[in-house]
């Protein structure tokens, strides 16, 4: 397993270098002198010259790139033009909020999507099956921002059951330990904090989870249908296992592998959706941070958040490969 992980990480290096080239080039794509653009109107010649020197804009492109990468290895993602603070520390403060949202959405999507898919597959062409199909098609066709606005309007504005936006009641002041509000609340035994955090989490989670649950439901249904026509299912039935044992231990377990691939892939789309969701719900994560950076033309932050999103995606894909081994003994054997 360890050697597999090492090989998998090594294989990422060429891709990672190209990802860094793309992120690095982002600022160079802006028409005109990057230093002038970065500083915006009203910058003095001195400031521009200073930034040009700091960014080493007079050096050849490849040297600039190498310096950028060396900087990254020292944790230097540049300085936010808006706040003047290092980009990395600004991102680290906001990262737990995004992870909290993405993980809870993934969890909800799995808990909703997989049972829906399994139930549909065991009753193909039933009313429930048609419902699943419509649900999944609407789910993938729905603009995330539209769903967010509709839920916000119904559950927060009209019914008043849930807060409109934010991450925690403004009356609660919390010293972050891990940065994950719910975990911090549990650690310190402040149950009112946990309750408040969950209430704020519900709507953004629902928006992000809807898309993934829709895709997952339909996908699990289709794989389950294929698996359930295999010979080993007939064998399992023939040896007298109960229906639920056949479906869960033989059918579902063999459908999980492709399902995990889909979860991993869609996790990326969810990170993209997090930009919209976090912006609408004023969720203080890196998605909203990126949106604000775009409004402020804060290019170092745009670069930094883009890179972090991409790293998160790459890590997920490695994690997915490792999960294969955990679930499937055949894959585990090949990993050795």
């Amino acid at each position: 397993m360890a050697s597999f992980l090492l090989r998998r990480l090594l294989a990422l290096i060429p891709v990672l270098i190209l990802v860094l080239v793309i992120v690095f080039s982002l600022v160079r794509l802006i028409p005109g002198d990057p230093a002038v653009t970065l500083l915006g109107p009203g910058a003095t010649d001195q400031q521009i010259a200073a930034l040009r020197a700091q960014m080493r804009l007079d050096e050849p492109f490849y040297l600039q790139f190498i310096n950028y990468v060396i900087g990254l290895f020292h944790g230097d993602m540049g300085i936010s033009l808006k706040s003047g603070a290092p980009v990395l520390s600004e991102i680290m403060v906001r990262l737990p909020a995004t992870l909290e949202l993405a993980l809870s959405a993934t969890l909800v999507a799995i808990l909703v999507g997989i049972p829906i898919g399994v139930l549909s597959a065991t009753r193909p062409n039933s009313l429930f099956d048609h419902f699943t199909r419509v649900f999944s098609l609407v789910g993938v066709s729905m603009p995330a921002f539209l769903l967010a606005l509709i839920l916000q309007l119904i559950f927060a504005t009209y019914l008043g059951w849930l807060p409109v936006s934010g991450r925690l009641s403004p009356y609660i002041i919390m010293q972050p330990i891990t940065g994950f509000v719910i975990i911090d609340g549990i650690l310190t035994g402040q149950w009112d904090v946990v309750w408040s955090a969950i209430r704020y989490l519900v709507l953004p989670t629902a928006v992000l989870a809807a898309f993934l649950a829709a895709t997952l439901g339909r996908f699990v249904r289709n794989t389950m249908l294929e698996v359930m026509s295999e010979d080993f299912i007939r064998t399992a039935r023939a040896k007298g296992l109960s229906r639920s044992q056949v479906i869960i231990q033989h059918g579902l377990r063999n459908s999980l592998l492709p399902a995990i691939t889909v979860i991993g892939l869609k996790f990326a789309e969810m990170l993209g959706g997090a930009i919209l969701t976090e912006t609408i719900f004023a969720w203080p994560g890196i998605g909203r941070f990126m949106f604000e950076a775009i409004k402020n033309r804060d290019y170092p932050v745009i670069q930094g958040t883009t890179l972090v999103f991409s790293l998160l995606f790459m890590l997920t894909s490695v994690l997915v490969d490792l999960l294969y081994g955990v679930i499937d003994p055949r894959v585990r054997k090949r990993m050795k």
């Binding site: 891709v15 309007l153 290019y299």
Partner: protein, 279 residues
């Protein structure tokens, strides 16, 4: 024509999607001519009115007729979806076919680049590119097209790999045809089916992504009417007059739903394993 009719008869949902899509297309092309209001015609005395016979979807904060604006915005949104996929198709298929047919180091470089592009969440990359290019509708379309192109490159490459070992390609090579001609007339032409399926599946996400950029202010700039931007520019009236912001949003949902219904069924149709199931 015959295979098309067979496809439509076997896939009622795709037929429904097609009919609704044609209706939407007709509405956005003809509608603005029939509407008594202009998309930018102000009528401040009648601002933020609810849906009525005179204004089917009410009026916005400047008294403009929402239904007329949705029809106008639809022209852009539909053109965007098709335009973005056309660009992504051209770029992706060119590099993918080249990589699959030529192989060797060219293949290696192109495909590593494709891998790197696919290592970004698509919307994140589109947003970053659109931010770098500067906010405008053309730049947003270009940004989304760039993020969609790698998928076309992957499909085109695998098609080219399979086709380049076929006897007819070998024959063409031994006849001394130009590589350019072989790529176009043999490799590309014979691998078109799966690429068209990919294209039909991509139109929905192209519209969704461009609308998302518009919503974030990176797409069409006012007074241009585009569905995504129209949602966000009316957000402040969401509480009192939800129809103003939600109407263009619902229009996106229905249009994308139609494209997905067609694309989904086409994909099943061209997938031999699933096709047996349908027969």
């Amino acid at each position: 024509m015959k295979p098309l009719l067979l496809f439509l008869r076997k896939n009622p949902l795709a037929t429904l999607g097609g009919i609704v899509l044609l209706a939407i297309l007709l509405a956005v092309i003809v509608g603005p001519w029939l509407s008594p209001y202009g998309p930018t015609k102000l009528d401040v005395l009648n601002k933020l009115q609810g849906p009525s016979l005179a204004h089917w979807l009410g009026t916005d904060s400047l008294g403009r007729d929402v239904f007329t604006r949705v029809l106008h915005g639809g022209r852009f949104t539909l053109a965007i979806g098709i335009g973005v996929v056309a660009i992504a198709f051209a770029v992706g298929v060119f590099f993918g076919t080249l990589a699959g047919y030529v192989g060797g180091p060219i293949d290696m470089v192109i495909m590593r680049f494709v891998d790197a592009m696919l290592s970004f969440p698509a919307l994140v990359l589109a947003i970053a590119l659109a931010a770098a290019f500067g906010p405008s509708l053309n730049n947003a379309m270009l940004a989304v097209a760039i993020t969609l192109a790698p998928q076309f490159a992957r499909v085109a490459r695998s098609q080219a790999l399979a086709i380049s070992v076929k006897p007819y390609v070998e024959a063409a090579v031994s006849l001394g045809l130009l590589t350019r001609r072989i790529l176009w007339r043999y490799v590309f032409a014979n691998g078109l089916g799966p690429l068209l399926v990919q294209a039909s599946l991509s139109i929905g996400s192209a519209i969704l992504q461009t609308a998302s950029l518009g919503f974030l202010g990176l797409g069409a700039q006012p007074p241009l009417s585009e569905w995504g931007a129209d949602v966000s520019s009316n957000l402040q009236y969401l509480r009192e007059s939800p129809w103003v912001a939600l109407s263009p949003g619902m229009a996106i949902l229905f249009t994308v739903l139609c494209f997905n219904l067609i694309g989904d069924n086409l994909a099943d149709w061209f997938n031999p394993r699933r096709r047996n199931e349908l027969d």
